[in-house]
Symmetry: C2
Subunit: 440 residues, 2 copies
Amino acid sequence: MGTTEELARYVSSAKTADLPAEVIHEAKRDVINLMAPALFAARDPSLSILLDVYGSEGGKERARIWGAGVKTTLQNSAFANGYLGHLEDYDDTHFPTVLHPSAPTVPAAFALADADAVSGRDFLAAVALGIEAACRIAVATHPWHYDEGWHITGTMGVFGGAVAAGRLLGLDTAGMVAAMGTAGTQAAGVREVFGSMAKPLHAGRAAQSGLLAALLTKRGFTSTDKIIEGRRGVMAVMSAQSDLSRVTDGLGSRWEIFNNGLKPYACGVVSHASIDACVAFKKDGVDVNAIEAIEAEVHPLVLELVNNPDPKVGLQGKFSVHHAIAIGLVDGAAFPDQFSDAHVLDPQIVGLRAKVALKKNEGFREDEAVVRLRLKDGRTLEKRVDHATGAPENPMTDEALSEKFRALAAPTLGKERTEKLLSELWRLDEAARVSDLSVS
Amino acid sequence: MGTTEELARYVSSAKTADLPAEVIHEAKRDVINLMAPALFAARDPSLSILLDVYGSEGGKERARIWGAGVKTTLQNSAFANGYLGHLEDYDDTHFPTVLHPSAPTVPAAFALADADAVSGRDFLAAVALGIEAACRIAVATHPWHYDEGWHITGTMGVFGGAVAAGRLLGLDTAGMVAAMGTAGTQAAGVREVFGSMAKPLHAGRAAQSGLLAALLTKRGFTSTDKIIEGRRGVMAVMSAQSDLSRVTDGLGSRWEIFNNGLKPYACGVVSHASIDACVAFKKDGVDVNAIEAIEAEVHPLVLELVNNPDPKVGLQGKFSVHHAIAIGLVDGAAFPDQFSDAHVLDPQIVGLRAKVALKKNEGFREDEAVVRLRLKDGRTLEKRVDHATGAPENPMTDEALSEKFRALAAPTLGKERTEKLLSELWRLDEAARVSDLSVS
């Protein structure tokens, strides 16, 4: 049996009831974690560009765009939610690769689930299997594929969308093989567009491509049966090297979804370990007015990428470990509010940033840090972080995820509806219908 | 100025009135040549798969699907017409590459032109410039890109759609740069799916991606300004080598559109020179009953690819040079009718095929052939073809293109409407509105 067929057989035939509870729970966390930045992004002006195109095209109002208060076609819903989910770069990261698996996967499943009477559990199973497929295929191409300049979320993400949608459409093995074929040949997205709206477009387009592939296949559309392993398939064409065994090894027993890290802080990942340390100080009740000096011992990349003691606007604050340390100590959080233009200029934050000294440690992991506070009374406090929050070794707690959701969803939905939706989401595996979610 | 900007500047600022009449005429020929197989394909069962998805999605009825008798959204129209145009593998081939430039380009422009009050001349200018952009970018990546396994029509075709649509939306240079960026990062399509419906999907998807990129850009969507030449742009990521100078050399004075060959016969291109010779015999009035033996001296690829003296069904007939020679002599044509299952089993055709002997000539070009008929009366007749019809050195005549159009469109539109449409198409450069075309 070929790689594509072996993967397709598993994801099409696994029974929802047989999936481990931890896997369903992780899929639920991924959904919550994706909806949070998507709901935040629903107030971004660029959404109106998509909505204007959708309005001019028209279409049946079948599935929601999160936080936008509108329904649209299945394909538009998948596209827009994928776009919104990835717009803030605040969703998730599959650590063995740099795939953001939820943005191209969850929206494809959500569109179908929102339009039809799909149960929460079936939806979550589709999400879990879609993420699993995308991550496994990504692992087989990493690091070669990304290093060549591909945005792996746009490319290999199509498989997540296709599998998740194909699952909800009840595709059998042959159907799933074909859907993966038609999705895979739409894989697209180069890193040259990073820094523009076209980056999150990759995620939206991948969700739409995967969904479209499943919709076409369901009606008899044909494709290759070897999109992964074929001589002109995605591995051969899009990756200098690949390891096919990683696609199927331990299918059903070993889960890549547990290697998907939820992003806890709204800034560059290399600052996260330092923030963790500072949030811990805050929880201990450390008074920032008592601090004389701050030393952060960090991986060399921190000095290379985020060494900016004096950011002037919010966006610069996201690339300043000095700012990240200050807000960790003051706010105990690093949500978008902490990176506002006003907050970056806050005198207390500015003052703290000036006390930060960086110390490079070549022996550290990228997600490792030690922060030392020298207090005015002469004492020194130290916090060591072995793995930043969000790493597989140190996953974000459900509680922290709820906090992230609240911080990001409330500006769009208001506090009350945010709490209602959050509560519904945590019980999504028991929900009779995904369409009952109060998501817009 | 970068390559992307230089190309964008030309295609956005060139005045329609300043384009050479020969270029507009060639664009018109490309439109006629694409609509012909698309109208033929409109009776293919796979179209109902697309129409069923479109029906379930709904949308404003703004632009036609050729021959289908329906209007749909702009994006669906572009997708479906691109799909239909390439489904029969009977459209065109840009000889310096193997790009089929019309299928991803013309439908993107047609959707906008059909929905709005666009004149025939502006439409043709958009088509000409879109094809020019796609072909030039393709040339810069050929043969490396295709050899890696990419279906260049799906990948570089997006630029044709984006430029053609961007032109009709009035994008300025910066807008065209951005539209090319957002289109280019959607470039997709691997050769593994050849032989399935997913191959023509590439053309449809490219037309849609290009159109979508232009629609988004018009509303303010941002992208890279270096999609062609950037360090992570399409050349660097999707082609082992590239020659950027070919994108812009002689812009406005040297036209790649003249290197786009229209496919005269409904079968594999390596048989075309032999068919040309036989059609010429037929025009001379050669009586097939007088033929004792047939010798075809051909390029070695002919023996490798289409050496089948005894095909049993129509599809096999398309890959039999023996059949191609027989129908050339009997019918003086090689339209889909000549490759029907019934025609392949016609005793007269079968008998003639048995008289064919192939002679390999290593020194021949691929599109070169000599066919010799030994007649029962002892005479020998010979026809030499230096370049098969459709090659840049031997373009299909307007008259032959009309015959192709008639043969392909009539089964769908009927003879009367076919003649009406054909007449409208030949006067398209004078038409006030593209939407007046009697195309469905």
